[in-house]
Symmetry: C2
Subunit: 277 residues, 2 copies
């Protein structure tokens, strides 16, 4: 069974083919965002666009935020009640062979709209299971935090999730520090403090991650970034994962280790779900 | 002035558009090869195909080498006297959203044929200039050696070559070890021994690199892999870079450091150029 998008647009025009000379394909020379649409409204749109803009600046991709905003609006108008809009921005077609861009490339926007499904109530109540990935994340401060298109490490780690019971795989960096899931950020609860790994050497600065760091105080929790090794998960008072599509999702197990469930996750999740924007 | 390919084929059919749902675009989930065609003959074809096959195995991409061989033959028949054939193999269109492949994807082949130009005799005589890149290579043994599509680090380092006098930029890994150019491998001459960095943590196992390691003895040089720091370039008896398109190219300067020229490079280059296949 092939999962297909409801619609896709290239530079604002409906279509599902891109020029084969796109540098996104050749080198992963671009960025992406995955935005949840709820009742046709893009969640945390400003934060997504800010991250995309920051990424384009770091990669030196000239990017038309105004055009993209209009295209997101048109896509959102077609969205079913729960949908995901994936945005890819690449440096565009190559002006010549080779890694070095000339600066004359025109960034390309690819939007795809997908129907989404809510996380099952059972998974939210019991918590999900994570695997510890064998595939590591290489460290590069120049790319850390960005949601760029160089995601082979995530693909290889996700391939390790051969059992459908694994919701995601937790990835470590080369030094053995815990960084994130392949498609989620991780929070560890210690007492009333939420800790999440820094994403300064590798990993993605998730939009929900920033929301949780900002909003935790509203449900009585401190939250901060801190280097964590996977052993600290085992002795945690709770673990959750976050991403833009699933929100805050409690974790009941990492590999062979059971993780205590706590009502903090329900309150944090409900608080985040109730936020506008 | 836009440099265009002479022709391009997707899965053997002439065309220049690929499905927008290709995982090569989404995640850099694929590999590539750049093959030199001289008088219509692909150079070191077996080595290129072996590396591609090894890469596909590592990434778990099911790959049809027989079809690709036939397509290379048809492309080569159209090639001008000096040409480059770029091959991209991706995991193909996504069967569903997300990083994890289902295993039901069909690998996609993209071939593009380009006219090439010989390295100028002046550059071969005087040697080329290299810059030391500020952008580092992240380390990941699971991906090291492969010519995969996650090349943002190379793009960023190549962007540093703002002056056309720089032929390439030399990249270090996170620990400061010299690894390679953005589009070339590097050899350092010490007495009669050629040293080239290992590519077990990052970097690409270049086809010409393997040829030089194998053939050096024929021109009276030892050759081996060894960790090198950039300081060893400064005290070297000579430096050259290699890739499939340019062959063996002597280096006269790395950043502010002059590098002695030696006649070994001419002999090594001529020996390699004279090889069949």
């Amino acid at each position: 069974m092939i999962e297909r998008p409801l619609a896709s647009w290239i530079d604002g025009i409906e279509g599902d083919q891109i020029p084969a000379d796109d540098r996104g394909l050749a080198y992963g020379d671009g960025l992406f965002e995955t935005i949840l649409l709820r009742a046709g409204l893009p969640r945390f749109l400003t934060a997504h666009l800010e991250r995309l803009t920051r990424g384009c600046e770091k990669l030196g991709i000239a990017f038309e935020s105004a055009l993209l905003r209009a295209e997101i609006g048109r896509a959102a108008a077609l969205a079913p009640p729960l949908a995901v809009l994936k945005i890819i921005v690449t440096r565009g077609s190559a002006v010549r062979r080779g890694y070095r861009p000339t600066g004359a490339e025109h960034a390309r926007r690819l939007l795809t709209l997908w129907e989404s499904a809510p996380v099952s109530p059972g998974a939210l109540e019991r918590g999900v299971e994570l695997r510890l990935a064998e595939t590591r994340l290489g460290e590069n401060p120049a790319l850390a935090g960005l949601k760029h298109l160089n995601r082979l490490e995530n693909v290889l780690a996700a391939r390790e999730c051969t059992d459908p019971r694994w919701f995601d795989a937790v990835m470590l960096d080369s030094a053995g520090r815990m960084i994130s899931g392949t498609m989620s950020n991780v929070f560890v609860l210690r007492g009333h403090t939420l800790l999440t790994p820094r994403v300064v050497r590798c990993g993605v600065a998730g939009i929900l991650r920033a929301v949780v760091l900002r909003e935790a105080a509203h449900v009585g929790l401190d939250a901060r970034e801190q280097d964590l090794d996977p052993g600290e998960v085992v002795v945690a008072d709770g673990v959750c994962v976050t991403n833009a599509r699933v929100g805050v999702v409690p974790v009941q197990r990492l590999g062979e280790h059971s993780i205590p469930m706590t009502d903090h996750w329900r309150r944090l999740r409900e608080h985040v779900e109730a936020l506008d924007a």
